[in-house]
């Protein structure tokens, strides 16, 4: 029997880590990721897991230790946010190249400067091109379940790539909600043991990891990595099906909320999707034909499936919680790219919202819908929600 517990997003992820019982966790505290590691350290201190925690002096060392542990054959995890992710970037980029299945929960937080501890997605968006699988979670429940999906996906023989499981900093990481927690045995059976095909502690079968690869080999290694990403897209759905059997929830590439007959849709990641759902429910109750698409799997991005979902929607607003300076916003870019093959393209509008943790309200989302339905949109212009002029 699963149980309902009042947990913050950070606690929910720590709970998932307790049930996974990884061999090694190395992390350095950074707001708002800190409680993930704090709660997990409590489990270690109380003997509830067999995990070896490695106290390190920085995030660069945290990811390096996780890489070393994972290469040795251990199931290794890390966790971070914002500046921490920025500091560990060098090793973050090396991890998928080394094909190590490290799972890292990230509590999304704005990047300095100016210094800010609250939520936006500029931290992980900065790493979107370097080969990590990225899964966004709307709430604590999704964060919890995505950890199991992420682990199995990372370690799948056709994938072997690291995975980031994102939740919105503070909004989700520190907000308490009811979370349905699975039985320990059920999770244990689902995640099983890592079982790598080769690992450095297997001293009878030595091999070299992390060699130099110059112009004559580097290119081929990167092509292999891209193949793993292509595979990840398929394997994500397969493992999602399996996870569905124990949680009762679905794990599509993106959630479609009240999209039947929608005349306008917004697309938004993570916790703001919850606010959007409330706004949509209210508008629907007054006859408004509006809907939401909430991408879950951001890397690899499901272009074709997104195109199919959007092809009959007259007008779409894409809400980004980060700016990609000098170019279209990250999520907007992907949606624009998804639509290229359509002959009759929907109208599109890009919006930036919530930078540095600024709240977004139902009223603002309703205004977006009204703007979309009025047709006053320009696909080449970036608009801002809740910004003072």
């Amino acid at each position: 029997m699963s149980v309902i517990k009042p947990l913050s997003g950070a606690q929910a992820v720590a709970e998932a880590m307790r049930q996974i019982n990884p061999d090694v966790v190395s992390a350095y505290p950074i707001t708002p990721q800190t409680p993930i590691v704090e709660y997990f350290a409590e489990f270690v201190a109380n003997g509830l897991v067999e995990t070896e925690t490695i106290p390190v002096e920085s995030e660069h060392s945290a990811m390096s230790a996780a890489v070393g542990a994972s290469a040795s054959g251990a199931r290794a995890m890390c966790a971070t946010s914002s500046q921490g992710l920025a500091l560990m970037w060098e090793v973050v980029a090396a991890t998928p190249g080394l094909r190590l299945p490290i799972v890292m929960p990230v509590a999304n937080r704005a990047l300095s400067a100016p210094i800010n501890i609250h939520c936006d997605h500029s931290d992980t968006m900065g790493t979107a091109t370097i080969g990590w699988i990225q899964i966004f979670s709307e709430n604590a429940q999704e964060s919890y379940e995505n950890m199991f999906l992420a682990l199995r996906l990372a370690e799948h023989k056709d994938v072997l790539l690291p995975v980031m499981v994102m939740q919105d900093g503070f909004i989700i990481s520190h907000g308490v909600e009811n979370v349905k927690i699975l039985e320990d045995d059920v999770v244990k059976k689902f995640v099983d043991d890592r079982n790598p095909d080769r690992y450095l502690f297997d001293v009878k079968n030595p091999y070299t990891i992390g060699p130099l690869a110059l112009p004559d080999y580097y290119f081929e290694i990167k092509r292999q990595q891209e193949e793993a990403m292509i595979n990840a897209k398929k394997v994500y759905l397969e493992i999602g099906e399996e996870l569905s059997k124990i949680t009762g929830n679905k794990y599509p590439y993106f959630e479609e909320y009240r999209m039947e007959d929608a005349e306008a849709a917004i697309i938004v990641l993570a916790s703001a999707a919850g606010t959007a759902k409330d706004a949509i429910d209210e508008m629907r109750s007054h006859g408004g034909k509006v809907g939401l698409i909430k991408p879950k799997l951001f890397r690899p991005f499901p272009y074709k499936e997104m195109r199919d979902a959007l092809k009959n929607i007259p007008v779409i607003g894409v809400l980004d919680r980060s700016i990609s300076f000098g170019s279209y916003a990250p999520l907007y870019t992907e949606i624009r790219n998804s639509l290229f093959e359509l002959e009759n393209k929907p109208l599109l509008q890009s919006y930036i919202f919530g930078l540095g943790g600024r709240d977004i309200f139902k009223a603002e989302i309703k205004q977006v819908f009204e703007e979309l339905l009025s047709g006053r949109v320009n696909s080449e212009e970036q608009k801002y929600i809740g910004l003072r002029g």
């Binding site: 094909r99 072997l160 091999y207 070299t208 080999y217 580097y218 081929e220 292999q224």
Partner: protein, 115 residues
């Protein structure tokens, strides 16, 4: 490049089998190739001593080899450059007292060998 493994056949993530450094031929880095003219060589060993990659092999040869001026050079003599490791730095050509080593572009060497 054509005889190297493609991405389907390489081990995942640039992993390698153990003890393979002997198979790593760094000569592919070369853009310039030293062309050695044995008829002008006096087997002084200056190129051998200066080569930073020990890419000029030597051998003891009591029968002798014909070098500069048609003379027979006996004892330790140099052989053709080992192109598996020569990176074409040109130090041998610079230091050679008889200027019997000339540097040409690698693609010229490939072109002339395919003719």
């Amino acid at each position: 490049m054509a005889n190297k493994k493609g991405w389907h056949d390489l081990m995942r993530g640039a992993d390698l089998p153990p003890a393979t450094s002997l198979e790593y031929k760094t000569g592919s880095w070369r853009t310039m190739r030293p062309v050695f003219d044995p008829t002008d060589c006096i087997h002084c060993m200056i190129c051998v001593a200066y080569c930073p990659d020990m890419a000029i092999p030597i051998i003891k040869n009591e029968d002798g080899v014909t070098g500069k001026g048609g003379r027979l050079y006996k004892g330790v003599v140099r052989l053709e450059t080992d192109f598996d490791y020569c990176k074409g730095c040109g130090i041998c050509a610079q230091e050679c007292p008889t200027k019997c080593i000339t540097m040409i572009r690698e693609e010229e060497a490939v072109e002339s060998s395919s003719k």
